[in-house]
Symmetry: C2
Subunit: 150 residues, 2 copies
């Protein structure tokens, strides 16, 4: 079976919250980068599905507002963070700054959750704005750092 990058990361050594460069791939003459945006400490906590889903909806827009070239932002199956795929080169520090600003936007968000209707969403009942804001606040208070791959 082909190798999967995340299976080689030692999840017992990383310290959330953090931003980590998970991989780089040459495409055409350019490059696509993948970042591990980790909010919760692996195997110690996990973001409940509703808060994670709302964070996905909010960060989809807010992260794109601070970072050009975003291709995808999706939650991890382990529910401790998100994978960001974007056209690079960007660098960990610039991603960290954009992620921090996007989390501040989540905290300030007022009104409806974007795209969370029966028509626009795949699971419109499973949302939690209060929970999403609580996770954003926790991460901002703890302070994001760049995590090398261990």
């Amino acid at each position: 079976m082909p190798e999967v990058e995340s299976f080689n990361l030692d999840h017992t050594k990383v310290r959330a919250p953090y931003v980590r460069l998970a991989g780089r791939k040459a495409v055409g003459g350019g490059v696509v980068e993948k970042y591990d945006l980790r909010l919760a400490q692996p195997n110690r906590e996990a973001i409940p599905t509703a808060a994670l889903h709302t964070l996905e909806h909010l960060l989809a827009g807010y992260l794109r507002a601070h970072l050009p070239g975003v291709i995808d932002l999706s939650p991890m199956g382990c529910r401790t963070g998100f994978y960001l795929v974007a056209e690079g080169p960007i660098g960990e520090e610039a991603v960290l700054e954009a992620f921090r600003k996007a989390l501040e936007d989540v905290l300030r968000h007022q009104g409806e959750i974007p795209g969370a209707s029966f028509r626009a969403c795949g699971n419109y009942r499973d949302h939690d704005l209060k929970g999403a804001k609580a996770w954003a606040q926790r991460v901002l208070e703890a302070g994001l750092k760049v995590q090398p791959t261990l």
Copy 2:
């Protein structure tokens, strides 16, 4: 806020299970494609976290074995499917074939779940191989088709 492709999809009109081309982005002189691999019918069902997480681990390897150029495969926050990001052009039919083969591999999988240890995984307790196989079987029995964007 920048536009997010999935918020423009009419989730009441699509019929799971399916493969849909969700987007294309020029990178360098090449192209990166994003596919919506939908296992469950939006707003009617959702894959439980443990089965979704195990599917993520298994498909990470098995899909790469059948499809070159995979950059990311991540579950959707709504828990009805996965987003695949890959170097293109591939095309819906070729993605469908690779996804079908990977689901057959999931059904045949014996032994441990790859990368599901305390060290290699972010939530090693939240796995369900039986549930993952049951979803793979359901999708294969229902039959995958190409879904246009509605």
